[in-house]
Amino acid sequence: MQGSARRMGVMTDVHRRFLQLLMTHGVLEERDVKRMQKHCYKVHDRNATVDKLEDFINNINSVLESLYIEIKRGVTEDDGRPIYALVNLATTSVSKMATDFAENELDLFRKALELIIDSESGFASSTNILNLVDQLKGKKMKKKEAEQVLQKFVQNKWLIEKEGEFTLHGRAILEMEQYIRETYPDAVKICNICHSLLIQGQSCETCGIRMHLPCVAKYFRLNAEPRCPHCNDYWPHEIPEVFDPEKEREPGISKSNRKSLRSRRH
């Protein structure tokens, strides 16, 4: 096993608790991760200064490297929220979900995944997925059952559903990007800006290059005349807003809730 001492970070109980919690949650948004980090410090090392999140995570990742797992940071494709998940780098196949799902369920996911990747919008309709039910490996599955399995995928944060159509959850992209790029090298779409896997995004109508919505937001920020970075043609789509974590301060909470949060902390 590798892991020379000089590169290794040090694991303390702060890090261990953080890892436990991250693993338990599956995937977390950045603000929750920061809160969780502070919580871990509070529990185990009240007096220490809280490391910058990036350094904190890099430290942990240096220990995880030899185990072929990693805390990965990604960004949701629709609104640019940063998310984190503990992912397994070694098993790069859909079978990493295998502990959870039966053979025919996994195959349903694979079929949905293929439809999503092949689609123009990054979404596959429920109807199209369900029509493939007869081709599934393993035990025969009825359409009704398949509908429920798809809902299970949504609940487990592998798929997102919007108006009867399905796309990949940010978590699935984080976990499976490598697998997807290796398995579907021709069908896969890549963002022109960040060069990562692209499922949902905007495309140039002239030259066809694609960009993630958050990448579009950042690239064309404050630009009155957005133009395609590749062919310089006018960029025809609406430019979304850059994600602002400050503005996002828990939209559902009123002042009274924040008060109650505070009072609980004494």
């Binding site: 096993m1 020379s4 109980d13 261990r16 890892l19 436990q20 948004e29 098993t91 502990t99």
Partner: protein
Amino acid sequence: MSEQSKDLSDPNFAAEAASSEVQSSPGVPGGVPPSATLAEPQSPPLGPTAAPQAVPPPQAPSDEEDPKALLEAAEEGRAHQAPSAAQPGPAPPAPAQLVQKAHELMWYVLVKDQKKMIIWFPDMVKDVIGSYKKWCRSILRRTSLILARVFGLHLRLTSFHTMEFALVKALDPEELDRVALSNRMPMTGLLLMILSLIYVKGRGARESAVWNVLRILGLRPWKKHSTFGDVRKLITEEFVQQNYLKYQRVPYVEPPEYEFFWGSRASREITKMQIMEFLARVFKKDPQAWPSRYREALEEARALREANPADHCPHNSVSED
């Protein structure tokens, strides 16, 4: 009892509960934290390379079973089923392969635990260890070491008979991490509320009583909820399957009624004191506002401390001073 059930209809509770509903966590709904109050000496951070196979895992002497004995029994048991028992063993694999298997097993166990699924030894062998089952022991040992060192979790054999393992937190102090993360785990809140109701009543909680409480959160049996989904299915099936709740028919009552009890897993993982703390947080009262329940919780805490003398107390729980 009526006094106590009034508490659960406290308008404060409604406000609190409403806020917990709104703040639904984007994380995977995970259920209740597997916090064990068992004492475990903290495993010291070992060096980067895992200890050689000869070193036993850092388990407290209070461990119930000898995993080695279990594995031998399991291997014998399987030998009866598998016709391959008699064939000559293959050459021992390279250490790197065993290490890799240990890593796979580590991830397997972590995911199973994340999904609140049973970690069953025969499944471990079938799904991960496979043809390396002769080296099961050392693989398991290495996995336990890694889990302890990196995650602060103990892979503990919880039942010799059913060959079930569980991941148990080895870090002190124990507390409801998820509740402490300001209500960002709606599933936990939902389950804890039902468990608290049962605990406060001192006996099973009728389904109608449970729905009265859940109604305060805006949850109805027939309505799908954006976070919880089918709430009725969640509490009568999923939580029951995971052994957090028991859902039983009330005897001799017509038309049929059902009631909820604590499940075996809840009894194992959640202490009465944690329930008292939850109630205190939710109602902004002192836990001693439920005097008989608080006494029970204290006694249980004392009994647990006596059973695990290595456990040291200072409880950094947010709710205590």
